[in-house]
Structure formats: structure tokens, C-alpha cells
């Protein structure tokens, strides 16, 4: 009896993984079949590096000194993770709007497969983005200074943020019924979050209260941690949250994921109302 139960448990666990993997490969196939979409998608972060690095960069100050472009690139990594929310949300909303989700839901597959597969595929896509940004960064004079191990760790920290953001995006895509609307509402959400953070400007240079908001911005923790691991300029402020950026770069994504995974899953199950 117990053996059968264990067998069933194992079978179910294997099925959850298998179904999520099938969905992941589906979403990756989407990327492969529509490269023009990803090209447009890459253009925003790459443009940010160029515009901020060369146009505004000459007027920018880095606390503690150092190259502004070296300061900027880890910020753009995190920024592009945030903007990925739009693509995730749109893709989910599009699926739900089409009959294809009805087909998935009427099939004997794990309920989590669609959302987990979306999250996994978008993290994979983020890896492509980061690769493109690393190349772009190297071209404008950015480098990692503390060895490959720390650089890989920094990328891991950035990807952790992306995991959290895919779940926010999935929730958004399930709440907002229209795929076009999802894409539109992400910008007014993401733009102030990027501006009021340490992505482009050090919070110490902002008015007091705004600086505090910027320091507590989850994006800032990831950016500070990445700068530290890459050995890029940008001395952290005196506030507790800035002094513990590495810790917060892990805590923030974990907390956000823990909030938005159940919200998204519950929302997905409520499609049957």
C-alpha cells in the first residue's frame, strides 16, 4: 500500500516536472520562432547603456569616483530584468485569451505547468538578454574585476530578481485580461521604479526622502550586490539596507516570489469560475 502511494507521489512529482518542462520548451520555441520580438526586446537595455553612458553620462557623478559606464552596466542588467515583466505578463494574458489555455486545462496535466513553464522560459530568455548586455557592456568599457566566479555569482543574483519578476508578470497577466493592456501598464510601473533606484543615479545624490525610497527599492539591492561582485564603482550609502545589499538582494526576490507565486496560482485556478 505504502509503496503504491510512494510510487504515485513519485509519479506525480515526475509529471509536474515533465509537464512544466514541456511548457518551457514550448515557450523557448516561441523565442526561436519569433527572433524579431527578442531583437526589439533587447533594444531598450542596449539603448539605455548607450544613451545614459554617452549622452547623460558626462554629467553624472559616481560617489567614490570611477567610470560612470562601469557604474551603469550592472544597473541596466537589473533594469532589463524589471522590464521583462511586460513580456511575461503579455504572454500569459495572450495564452488565457486564446483557446489554447482551455485545451491545456482540459488535459491531464499538472495545473502548475503553464505558469511554471512560463517563469522558467522567461528566466532562460533573461540569460540571453544578460549575454547580450555583457557583450554590449564590454564594448563600452565595462569589465568584471573580481574574477569569473564572482561575476557568475552576480549574474545569479540578477537572475534571482528575474524569477521574482516573472511571477509578478504572470500575476499581472492573469489579472489584466487584455494582452495589449498588460504591455501598456508595465511602463508606468517600471519607469519610476527604475528612476527611483540606484540604477542611473546614486541615492545619496537625491533629495533625502527620495534617496531613502531609492535605497529600499528591491532593484537597488540587486544592483548594489552586482556592483560589488563585479568590482564596479558605486560606494553604498550608510543606511542599513545599503550596507546589507547582498543580503537584501536575496531577501527581496525570495519575499516577492513567496507573495506572487500563490497569488498567481490562485488566480489561475479561479479561471474556472
Amino acid at each position: 500500500m505504502i509503496n503504491t502511494e510512494v510510487g504515485q507521489q513519485q509519479g506525480r512529482a515526475r509529471r509536474v516536472v515533465r509537464d512544466a518542462w514541456a511548457m518551457t520548451t514550448r515557450n523557448i520555441a516561441h523565442v526561436v520562432r519569433s527572433p524579431e520580438e527578442i531583437a526589439i526586446y533587447f533594444s531598450v537595455p542596449i539603448m539605455s547603456v548607450l544613451v545614459f553612458g554617452y549622452v547623460f553620462g558626462s554629467g553624472m557623478m559616481v560617489p567614490g569616483g570611477g567610470s560612470y559606464r562601469e557604474f551603469l552596466v550592472p544597473g541596466v542588467f537589473a533594469m532589463s530584468m524589471l522590464y521583462g515583466m511586460g513580456a511575461t505578463g503579455t504572454a500569459i494574458a495572450y495564452d488565457v485569451n486564446r483557446g489554447v489555455v482551455d485545451r491545456f486545462r482540459s488535459m491531464p496535466i499538472a495545473r502548475s505547468a503553464l505558469v511554471v513553464g512560463r517563469s522558467a522560459a522567461d528566466v532562460f530568455r533573461a540569460l540571453l538578454e544578460i549575454t547580450a548586455l555583457v557583450v554590449c557592456g564590454l564594448l563600452v568599457g565595462w569589465q568584471w574585476h573580481r574574477g569569473v566566479g564572482n561575476a557568475v555569482l552576480a549574474v545569479g543574483i540578477v537572475l534571482m530578481l528575474r524569477v521574482a519578476i516573472t511571477w509578478i508578470g504572470i500575476y499581472l497577466g492573469l489579472v489584466v485580461p487584455n494582452p495589449d493592456t498588460v504591455g501598456i501598464i508595465v511602463f508606468p510601473l517600471a519607469f519610476p521604479l527604475t528612476a527611483v533606484s540606484n540604477v542611473f543615479v546614486a541615492p545619496e545624490l537625491m533629495p533625502g526622502w527620495l534617496g531613502t525610497v531609492a535605497e529600499w527599492n528591491p532593484l537597488s539591492a540587486t544592483v548594489s550586490a552586482a556592483r560589488e561582485l563585479f568590482g564596479n564603482p558605486g560606494v553604498a550609502g550608510d543606511a542599513w539596507v545599503s550596507q546589507n545589499a547582498m543580503l537584501m538582494a536575496i531577501v527581496w526576490p525570495v519575499v516577492l516570489t513567496a507573495i506572487f507565486v500563490p497569488l498567481a496560482v490562485r488566480r489561475y485556478q479561479r479561471l474556472s469560475r
Binding site: A22, S34, V100, S106, M107, P108, I109, R273
Partner: protein, 333 residues
């Protein structure tokens, strides 16, 4: 007692103030095709969504393939397939990638999924378009791909929700052939449609649905016995002749004709087209009734409704001359 593949009893489903289903009953014997015929908004899609475990209902009971649709939903999903009103395929993936994805999700390994995908592409005449994005398929091709995706594993029960809505006649005929091929394999099919002809072509039995409930149920022949395969329609010149003409047409066709008083139009189902036409034309001529128009035509779904429900799908058009034309449940055996 025959095995019932689908049983729905007293299903109720409300969306706010609107009752989408209002005491819906449906028994479907295994390995038969059952047509659910009704206009937009009758509740057909709601029924399919409930039976395919996609939608909860407020009260009633439903089992499909022996499984309770609520309690045993997880097991039931392994036995059913759904081909929706809107082609439920991934539009970015190719036809083959779609079938392989669904095959993988159904537990086939990569090689099996690939093999089954190629068989189905061949069977549904999609081999040439195998690598094209489904988004670039024509409407008919997409419906065929959708149907193919439902047949990767042979389902016990297949739901076809308006499978040919919006297709041209040629594509429709091809899809019908595909559906007929499926039925031989022992699969029970629940088909929803707005077309009388489609139900007639495919279904063993037909339930006519109106306002969330079944208003008539029977074989296509039983339905036709009430609706009439063809109708004779006659428009008299003078309203004074209307009563006499109704009496004549009624006697010659052995029916109670529908009367559109405002347009002085009388229509009645006919068994033998030409005999009926000749008889009626001769009779009105003999009685010296001036006629503006007379002809034969196929019944519309609207007329079927008028007969079965006493109200039209488009407008309520009570015939003052024949208040008893309502034939509630007349064909329920």
C-alpha cells in the same frame, strides 16, 4: 440499459442575474454522436465547458465517462478531448510542434510524440504545412489541426464546440468527414452547432437548446417530422383570403401552418415537395385566391425554434390565426 457516456441532470449556472443554464438535462449513450443545437446564447458552450471540467456550476450533477466532472476532474481529463469554438492551438508554433507539445503533455516520449504528430498531419492532410506556424493556417486547416490535437490519444468523449463556425462549405465538408472518421473508433461525441444541417449530417440524436435548457430531443428524423424537411411558403394578395388559405394549406399538408399576419404569409412543412407545391397552387387557383408569391424552401433554425419553443430566435411572431401551433416537447419520445 445502455451505457451513458454523458449524464447531466438539472444543471444550473448563473452569471450574476443571467441564468446561463436553467435546469439542463442530457443523457448521451456511449459511442454515439449527440448534437446540441441552438442559437447564440442558448448555453451550448457553457454546457461544454462544464462537462470538459473548465467551468464550475451552481447546482445539479454531471458525469462524463463515468467520472463526476467536479469530484473526479483530474481523472476525467485523461479521458476527454476538447476542440473549441476558437481554434485552441498555439499560433506561433508549427503544426507539428503543436501536436508534439500536446503529445508530450499527454505522456508520450519525444519519439512517440513525433511519430503520432506525423501520422495525424498525414491523416488530416496537413503534412505540407507541418512546419508552418499555425497562425498562418487557413481557418479550415486550423480547425483540422485543432481536431487532430484532440485525437493524439483516442478520447472516450470528444467535445466539439461549433467546429465549423465561420468555415466555407468546402472546409466544412472536409471537417465533417474527419469527424465521421473519429466516430467509428468508439468515441462518444458531443457536438454543439447553430446549423440544423450540421446536426443532421453528424448526430445520432439532437437536443435543441433554448435559454439554458433542452426544449426538444430526438433523432434528426424525429425533429424533421416536426419541423418539416422543406417548407411551402405562400403570400396572399388580400388579407381577407388569409383564413381560407391557411385552412387549405393546413388540410393539404396535414399540418398547422405558421402565419405571419402582417405580411400575409403562410408557411407549412411539407413531406413531398412537388406534390405539395402542385396541390397548393391548384387549390388556391380553384378557390380564386390571388397569390403574390409561392415557393418551396428549406426550414431555418428560426422556424425549428418557432415550432419547438413557441418563440422565434429573432423576434416573437405569434400567429394569431393558429394560437395552438405551439408543440411543446412533441417529439420527445
Amino acid at each position: 440499459m445502455t451505457d451513458l457516456a454523458i449524464v447531466a441532470e438539472g444543471l444550473h449556472k448563473r452569471y450574476g442575474e443571467t441564468a446561463a443554464l436553467d435546469g439542463f438535462d442530457l443523457p448521451v449513450p456511449a459511442a454515439t454522436v449527440h448534437g446540441l443545437l441552438g442559437p447564440n446564447g442558448a448555453g451550448k458552450t457553457t454546457v461544454v465547458r462544464i462537462l470538459a471540467t473548465l467551468l464550475r456550476f451552481d447546482s445539479g450533477r454531471a458525469t462524463v465517462a463515468g467520472y463526476d466532472v467536479t469530484r473526479d476532474a483530474a481523472q476525467l481529463r485523461g479521458r476527454i478531448a476538447l476542440t473549441g469554438q476558437y481554434a485552441a492551438v498555439d499560433e506561433i508554433l508549427s503544426g507539428r510542434q503543436n501536436l508534439m507539445l500536446f503529445g508530450r503533455l499527454l505522456g508520450l516520449n519525444k519519439r512517440q510524440a513525433r511519430q503520432r504528430a506525423d501520422e495525424l498531419l498525414e491523416q488530416f492532410d496537413l503534412s505540407e504545412a507541418a512546419t508552418k506556424s499555425a497562425g498562418q493556417y487557413s481557418g479550415g486547416m486550423r480547425r483540422r489541426l485543432d481536431l487532430a490535437a484532440s485525437l493524439i490519444l483516442t478520447p472516450d468523449v470528444l467535445f466539439l464546440d461549433e467546429p465549423t463556425a465561420g468555415l466555407d462549405p468546402r472546409s466544412r465538408n472536409r471537417l465533417w468527414d474527419a469527424v465521421r472518421a473519429v466516430v467509428g473508433a468508439g468515441t462518444t461525441v458531443l457536438l454543439t452547432t447553430q446549423y440544423l444541417e450540421e446536426a443532421d449530417q453528424l448526430a445520432d440524436r439532437i437536443s435543441v437548446m433554448d435559454r439554458g435548457r433542452v426544449v426538444a430531443e430526438g433523432t434528426a428524423d424525429e425533429l424533421k417530422a416536426v419541423i418539416g424537411e422543406d417548407r411551402i411558403e405562400i403570400v396572399v394578395h388580400d388579407v381577407a383570403d388569409l383564413a381560407a388559405t391557411v385552412e387549405l394549406v393546413g388540410r393539404l399538408t396535414a399540418t398547422e401552418p405558421d402565419v405571419d399576419f402582417d405580411n400575409r404569409r403562410i408557411s407549412a412543412p411539407v413531406a413531398d415537395r412537388i406534390t405539395a407545391l402542385t396541390d397548393v397552387v391548384r387549390a388556391v387557383h380553384d378557390h380564386g385566391i390571388a397569390v403574390e408569391d409561392v415557393g418551396l424552401r428549406r426550414p431555418t433554425l428560426d422556424e425549428a425554434f418557432l415550432h419547438l419553443t413557441g418563440h422565434s430566435t429573432i423576434r416573437v411572431d405569434h400567429g394569431q390565426m393558429t394560437p395552438s401551433h405551439r408543440q411543446e416537447g412533441a417529439i420527445r419520445p
